[in-house]
């Protein structure tokens, strides 16, 4: 292994930390006037709305995910395996897209209210109808697409619970519901809390939904402070404040995981699934159908209707250039991010240096920070670098870094490096140190080992890292909005812009494209779950 690898890895990990450092450095510039303004007018709104949204979405997603995970692990249901795939599909739906789709559906001129108006012969304003563009609306929208995070973890927690536990509880008189609340749920709690923490972090990071619904939260506040008030420093300080909230969520999650107990027998045999009564089965299926329809099929159907309505007036050349822009950007970011991930993962595997380990550990923190925060940090870091370049080198290159696609790719790197490293390290974990040594005793040079052992074994993980990063980049809205070069549009940005201009029907085509591509990792995930949780046959 080249000696330079750990050094390169350290430099890359350090680079990834720059936005955070840039934010921290901004703490020194205190601007009492703007803060006074924020404090008097909006800060309380930011805090209350962000907290309400976060807790609401965490709770809402739990209410959808836990029952779904429980029934799909415990009971015999018609089409059980298909349902296990279907309940994951809302994961492909970005929150901002479902938000404006439902706005269109539930609008006063949308299909639902039109029906009410014609059936009851009333006109707008003469009857009560919930307003989807509200905080509860945002909570419902985000819960509908974020619950799969909790579902996946709760599902594996429930299905890993040994059947002997259930039998033991049964002998002590704990039947179904009591068993669920007294044994199964507490045991699955660490997994559920982890899932809920992920969901809450996504809720805190959301920009598209709350901006579209006109709810003032931290993310919209940061955007407004920077682009509305033009105050970079306060935007950075607000970003830090939001980061603190995120870190609190993370910390709570860590704490809950500390109590993670090993309550599963190691060679448990899975008993046959339980049978539900006919009515029980009916209501269970109704529940699952509602969740999946509301989170995926209804919005997709509405988008299809919009697309067909506008089939003749679509601006195809514009759409094609959008696709080209988006794919180019996503592929470039994907290659850069996965390459960096591979370098850091290898350095971490080969080196025992404490500093390197720490840097690498810190470099994956980006996933926790909202895209808006990272964009603000990256923007500040890159503009400073640009100024420095222009000043010291005397070059008149303008905004070389901050005004180009480089900035965007850099922000994506910070945000999605964790996803890539996690996947690459999973693959690298399959190559044990002993395999390396075995190959070495048989005369394989490092390069030959790479070729005949490492590449074949980590290929799959690297490909899935690439897929996940590709899709994440494709869906990412706030960072792209802030960092994109002037006049550079992606599918996500364009969909959001069109929806914000109330051109919902026109936004459907780019939105649906994002959803369709977003299904790829969902299928990959569903496939993995399906494979790993097939009932094991005892040999």
């Amino acid at each position: 292994m080249p000696k330079t690898l750990p050094i390169v890895a350290c430099m890359l990990a350090g680079l990834v930390l720059l936005p955070l450092i840039a934010l921290l450095l901004n703490l020194g510039h205190w601007d009492p006037e703007t803060w006074q303004h924020l404090y008097q007018h909006v800060l309380l709104d930011y805090v209350l709305n962000s907290l309400g949204l976060t807790l609401g979405v965490g709770l809402g997603a739990c209410l959808l995910a836990i029952p779904a995970a429980w029934v799909l692990t415990q009971y015999h249901l018609p089409g059980r395996r298909v349902w296990q795939w279907l309940v994951l599909m809302p994961l492909a739906m970005p929150a901002y897209i479902i938000a404006y789709t439902y706005t269109g559906i539930l609008d006063s001129s949308g299909p639902v209210q039109s029906t009410i108006q014609s059936v009851f012969d009333v006109s707008v304003g003469e009857y009560w109808f919930p307003n989807v563009r509200s905080l509860p609306g945002a909570i419902i929208m985000m819960s509908l697409v974020l619950y799969p995070y909790i579902f996946v973890l709760a599902r594996s927690a429930f299905s890993e619970q040994s059947d002997t536990l259930k039998e033991a509880a049964q002998t002590m008189g704990y039947q179904r519901w009591r068993y669920f609340f007294c044994v199964a749920l507490p045991l699955a709690k660490p997994a559920i809390v982890t899932g809920a923490a992920l969901v809450m972090m996504e809720a805190l990071a959301d920009y598209g939904t709350v901006q579209y619904f006109g709810i003032s939260t931290f993310t919209t506040g940061i955007y407004r402070t920077w682009f509305g008030l033009g105050n970079e420093q306060v935007a950075a300080q607000l970003s830090l404040l939001l980061s603190v909230v995120v870190l609190v969520v993370l910390l709570l999650e860590q704490r809950s995981r500390r109590h993670l107990s090993v309550a599963t027998g190691d060679n448990h045999t899975r008993r046959a699934l339980l049978h539900l009564s006919r009515s029980g089965q009916f209501w269970t299926l109704v529940f699952l159908l509602c969740v999946v329809s509301a989170g995926f099929f209804i919005p997709v159907g509405q988008m299809l209707i919009w697309i067909f309505q506008r089939l003749n007036s679509q601006e195809w050349p514009e759409f094609l250039s959008l696709i080209l822009n988006t794919v180019t950007l996503a592929v470039a970011a994907m290659l850069v991010i996965v390459l960096v991930a591979i370098i850091i993962a290898y350095a971490r595997r080969l080196s025992t240096h404490v500093g390197l380990k720490l840097l690498a550990q810190l470099s994956v923190m980006g996933y926790a920070f909202p895209g808006t925060v990272i964009a603000v940090g990256a923007m500040i870091a890159l503009t400073r670098t640009d100024y420095w370049l222009n000043d010291t080198l005397g070059l008149e290159v303008g905004l070389l870094l901050s005004g180009s696609l480089f900035a965007l790719v850099f922000a994506y790197l910070v945000r999605f490096l964790a996803v890539a490293i996690h996947n690459v390290e999973t693959g690298l974990g399959r190559v044990t140190i002993n395999m390396d040594m075995a190959a070495q005793t048989m005369g394989y040079s490092p390069l030959q080992r790479l070729q005949s052992v490492h590449i074949p074994l980590i290929k799959g993980s690297v490909l899935s890292a690439m897929l996940l990063v590709f899709v994440d980049v494709l869906k990412e809205l706030p960072a792209t909005l802030i960092m994109r070069p002037f006049d550079f549009n992606t599918l996500a940005v364009r969909a959001f812009e069109l929806a914000s201009d109330e051109r919902l029907a026109d936004a459907a085509l780019p939105s649906l494209s994002i959803v369709v591509v977003g299904l790829l990792p969902v299928i990959l995930l569903a496939y993995h779950i399906d494979k790993s949780y097939q009932p094991r046959r005892t040999s």
Partner: protein, 360 residues
């Protein structure tokens, strides 16, 4: 074939192996036996070339391969390693795993050797199967075949049975010995399990805390342990400090008069020391057998007993807190709480000095 001269291995301040010397004949199957943390795996990795000794030297076929300055790379030593987790390649089938180390040979030779080796390990016809579809025992044998394919001068095996079910281990240990003997390879195996060591190996090197305690055939280790550690580890010997039997002590002498006179002349009683004897050397009776000069007796109570099928294990204790483990063949003849006299044949008692070393 292999000689280690005063090898020491250090990791920073921690000394894993100290002053270790050992030599193996061609075709010898030897074992590094010892409790976990005794340094046996460090030594194995050092022989393989993954570690460098901090002192001493290692020779293979009379050639120096490692000392504290120079170390020949693992691939140039002519060693092959069977790893604890086997380190088989999950993306390759059985045949490709076996021929992995002989890729430079013509295809026909590779195939022929692969077939020979799979026949040797009893896995004929599994060439195209993937590793995950094999059982643990089969995977172990593929790992052995892969290691033997390179025709190594010495085969190193690191805890080869640790990944297997307890029931499989003993039968696989017998198989392993016959495979290694048929292949005629010199082998060094690391294990913490004495019965595995005794089943597979010609000689056993017992290690503790980085030091060699004794190297010899299993029988010699059992019958004439060099020190108390060996006696305890290999034979589960009972150990009693002799001072507690001193006739002048206040406590009620539990040793019969005949022995006392013998012990007085003994070196142990003069210097103080420790006596040790196998749990199998004890016989139990209901009353003191008088007049025997060739035996030692203790009055004891049966504390607990476990019937193990062919034999019964008793734990005996007395008021002074001495405890003995005793194994008698057949089903239990005594009951818990019963007073018995434990008699040990004088010839079965080994004497050790206070330093733990055998007095002779």
């Amino acid at each position: 074939m292999l000689s280690l001269h005063n090898v020491s291995i250090r990791y920073g301040d921690f000394s894993a192996v100290q002053d270790f010397s050992l030599s193996l004949e061609i075709g010898e199957i030897a074992c590094l036996l010892g409790p976990s943390g005794s340094g046996k795996t460090s030594l194995l990795r050092c022989i393989a070339g993954f570690e460098t000794p901090s002192q001493g030297s290692i020779e293979l076929r009379g050639q120096l391969v490692a000392n504290c300055q120079n170390s020949v790379a693992p691939e140039k030593r002519g060693v092959a390693v069977v790893f604890q987790d086997y380190a088989l390649f999950p993306h390759l089938n059985v045949k490709d795993n076996v021929v992995f180390g002989i890729r430079h040979l013509p295809k026909s030779v590779q195939l022929e050797r692969c077939q020979q080796l799979l026949a040797l390990v009893g896995l004929d016809g599994t060439e195209s199967r993937f590793i995950q579809s094999l059982s643990g025992g089969q995977q172990q044998r593929v790992a052995i075949a892969r290691a033997l394919a390179t025709e190594p001068d010495i085969l190193l095996l690191d805890e080869p049975f640790s990944n297997l079910d307890a029931e499989l281990r003993s039968s696989l240990a017998v198989q392993l010995r016959s495979i290694l003997k048929q292949a005629g390879v010199t082998a060094l195996m690391v294990t913490h399990d004495q019965s595995e060591a005794f089943t597979v190996c010609d000689t056993v090197a017992l290690m503790e805390q980085g030091k060699l305690q004794q190297h010899g055939s299993p029988e010699s280790l059992y019958q004439s342990p060099a020190n108390l550690f060996v006696a305890r580890f290999v034979g589960q010997f009972n150990v009693l400090p002799v001072a507690s039997m001193d006739p002048s002590s206040q406590s009620k002498p539990a040793v019969d008069s005949g022995l006392k006179s013998r012990l007085v002349q003994d070196e142990i009683t003069q210097k103080g020391g420790i006596m040790a004897f196998s749990p199998h050397a004890i016989s139990l009776s209901s009353s003191m057998v008088n007049g025997s000069v060739d035996s030692v007796s203790f009055e004891m109570t049966i504390k607990s007993m476990v019937f193990r099928g062919g034999f019964t294990e008793y734990t005996l204790g007395d008021l002074e807190g001495r405890a003995l483990r005793c194994v008698l063949s057949g089903s239990p003849d005594w009951h818990q709480g019963e007073q018995v006299v434990a008699t040990i044949c004088r010839k079965a008692i080994l004497s050790f000095g206070d330093d733990g070393y055998r007095l002779k």
